[in-house]
């Protein structure tokens, strides 16, 4: 199984799981892995343009699975995409709110709405949403169909039979 892990460079991860750790664990389980690292800036003037650029990259035919490890790599296109929500800042809009609070100026509100819409497109087309806590799972509601305890568990889910069964059964979080 070939698994492509995707991440972006930005400064606001709180509890990002070590992508290298996950890669090593996947390799130990027999998966062939590679890591995609894309740049990202929270500069509002370039937010939509960057999301569009992610979308234009074509990794649709690469590997058996694409694992989006951090926003906004969930915008990337792949027929078997797994989105990992690593902590409370699961989407760019969370970061936006965290950094700026609610900005009353209407143009800012308009950008936030578009950002949210684009992220929903990326997330909802995923085959599986995974997170590390029931709290995040509840917040992300139906987007999450699998809660894992740690990166070892996540690697097992990705590499093993759990991935397939989760996709089929659409296992819901209690």
């Amino acid at each position: 199984m070939k698994i492509l892990l995707a991440t972006s460079t930005k400064q606001f991860h709180h509890r990002e799981i070590e992508i290298e750790t996950l890669r090593d664990q996947l390799q130990a389980l027999g998966a062939l892995t590679d890591i995609l690292v894309l740049p990202f800036s929270m500069n509002k003037q370039h937010l939509l343009s960057q999301l569009s650029s992610y979308r234009m990259l074509d990794v649709r035919h690469v590997g058996d699975c694409l694992v989006s490890m951090s926003a906004p790599t969930h915008i990337l296109r792949h027929p078997n995409k797994v989105v990992v929500f690593s902590d409370s800042s699961t989407q760019l809009v969370d970061t936006w709110d965290e950094q700026d609070g609610y900005l009353d100026r209407q143009p800012m509100h308009a950008i936030r709405k578009l950002l949210y819409r684009a992220e929903q497109v990326g997330i909802q087309e995923a085959a599986l949403g995974v997170c590390f806590s029931n709290l995040t799972a509840r917040r992300m509601q139906t987007m999450v169909r699998c809660v894992v305890t740690d990166s070892v568990h996540l690697a097992a889910q990705l590499a093993g039979k759990h991935l397939k069964s989760s996709r089929l059964s659409g296992k819901k979080v209690a």
């Binding site: 370039h46 939509l48 343009s49 999301l51 569009s52 979308r55 234009m56 649709r60 915008i75 990337l76 296109r77 792949h78 027929p79 078997n80 995409k81 100026r105 209407q106 143009p107 308009a110 950008i111 709405k113 578009l114 819409r117 684009a118 929903q120 497109v121 990326g122 909802q124 087309e125 995923a126």
Partner: protein, 447 residues
């Protein structure tokens, strides 16, 4: 909403009067508006100032940091008309901070010509060719062999509208009549809506019907005098009929050059039948109100019709005076029963026929004009304009980041000299629509 409102604001500016009307209505609706005077500094149009209705700032006062100053507003509204000195900063600042443009004229050839004179690197013909194609340049050269003003700016140029040089980055455009909405949309590729021009009704109460002066009716033309206002045709029509000359005197309230004024006076007196003509020159608001009150009918003829809407016609209809209008353009949106239409190909005959009809049936035509007053007061009110504008601004603000994104990409493509038909353009269009415009759907990423 917090709005910055670029407008000329002299006592004589019709767009300034329009702005006062709409801004007042916007403030009544709870919006915060700052008027930004946009005339060219030290030009004659900047020397007087209309009464304030809200905070007023001169655009030249923050010239050093336009984006910084305008960052405080939700949206910037730029009034743009076909006069460079009047709209100087509306053009200059719009290039730095895109906003919504209120387009008062169907084409901007005079504005373009003056804009090019400002900078030797700008070329009128280059812009013309770029926006209107090679044919327009051939047409220009053909017209330039004769009288450039008459044969180009006041006539043929109307076939080749130019807008992009002034507002290529606009987020959305408001036109004041449907007839130029489509060409605007085609040239600018942005959201366009039509809202009938708002204009102050010079009298809230109905004006008395004036009696005849020395047994004659008074026909009035309002506004700066040029060949486009068809004053020569009015004079010729009256002069060609002793009967009409007996019934009508003609007054023109507006700025006129010495040469053209002398020409009109000569025209009125050189014929067998003399026309009683008064050239009043520039008038202020009070004088204009008095002239309208004294008028028995008002001529709002134009050819070609380059205005997006006519403040004169709103003034005239609101005054309850029988009104002559040209056929076509913005005038076609007025119901037939409310105006007397004049077709350009039978102009003199039509004018004669209508003036004779008004003279012979004066009371009846005044009665009909009263209906037009009610119609225009509702349709062209500041309140109606402000309501429609707010709805357009809301949708434009929601859409503006996407338009800005398209502009950024276009800028990238142009930096690289990539053509607009490059294969990636369609792909990007699809990406942008899918991410930002589609309602969220469970589409598959692999498709």
């Amino acid at each position: 909403m917090k709005l910055a409102w670029y407008t000329p604001y002299s006592q004589y500016s019709a767009i300034g009067a329009f702005s006062r009307e709409v801004v007042t209505a916007l403030i009544e609706k709870g919006h915060a508006v700052t008027i930004i005077r946009c005339e060219k500094p030290n030009s004659c149009v900047s020397k007087t100032e209309a009464p304030h209705v809200t905070k007023l700032v001169n655009a030249s006062s923050f010239q050093h940091d336009v984006p910084g100053f305008l960052a405080d507003f939700d949206v910037v509204v730029y009034n743009v008309g076909n006069h460079f000195s009047n709209h100087y900063f509306s053009i200059e600042h719009q290039r730095q901070v895109p906003g919504v443009t209120l387009l008062h004229d169907y084409m901007l050839h005079h504005l373009l010509a003056e804009w090019c004179e400002e900078d030797e690197n700008r070329s009128y013909l280059d812009v013309l060719a770029h926006e209107a194609g090679a044919d327009s340049v051939l047409a220009f050269h053909a017209a330039a062999k004769n009288d450039i003003q008459k044969d180009w700016y006041m006539s043929n140029a109307a076939r080749y509208p130019v807008l992009r040089f002034a507002m290529a980055n606009t987020l959305g455009v408001v036109t004041h009549a449907d007839f130029y909405s489509e060409s605007t949309r085609k040239l600018l590729h942005c959201p366009v809506t039509t809202i009938p021009l708002a204009y102050p009704h010079r009298s809230e109460t109905e004006l008395e019907t004036p009696t005849r002066t020395n047994g004659k009716l008074t026909l009035l033309t309002i506004g700066d005098v040029n060949i486009n206002k068809r004053c020569e045709s009015i004079i010729k029509s009256i002069a060609s009929s002793p009967e009409l000359a007996k019934h009508w005197r003609y007054r023109i309230a507006g700025r006129v050059t010495k040469t053209y004024g002398a020409h009109l006076m000569r025209l009125a007196s050189e014929r067998e039948v003399c026309v009683e003509l008064d050239l009043l020159g520039a008038v202020d608001d009070a004088q204009l109100n008095a002239e309208v009150a004294k008028a028995n009918a008002i001529s709002c003829l134009r050819f070609p019709i380059i205005e997006g809407a006519s403040a004169s016609v709103v003034t005239s209809l609101a005054s309850g005076r029988p009104t002559l209008v040209s056929q076509g353009g913005c005038y076609d949106e007025i119901p037939d029963s409310m105006v007397f239409r004049v077709a350009i190909d039978s102009e003199l005959d039509s004018i004669q026929k209508h003036l004779m009809h008004i003279a012979d049936n004066y009371e009846m035509t005044v009665f009909q004009a009263a209906k037009a007053r009610a119609w225009v007061k509702k349709r062209h009110s500041g309140n109606h304009y402000a309501t429609s504008l707010c709805s357009f601004l809301d949708s434009t603000i929601a859409e503006f980041p996407v338009i800005e994104l398209a502009d950024q990409i276009a800028e990238n493509l142009s930096q690289w000299n990539w053509q607009s038909d490059c294969p990636v353009v369609n792909q990007l269009d699809g990406v942008i629509n899918h991410l930002f415009r589609s309602t969220t759907s469970k589409s598959k990423a692999g498709i």
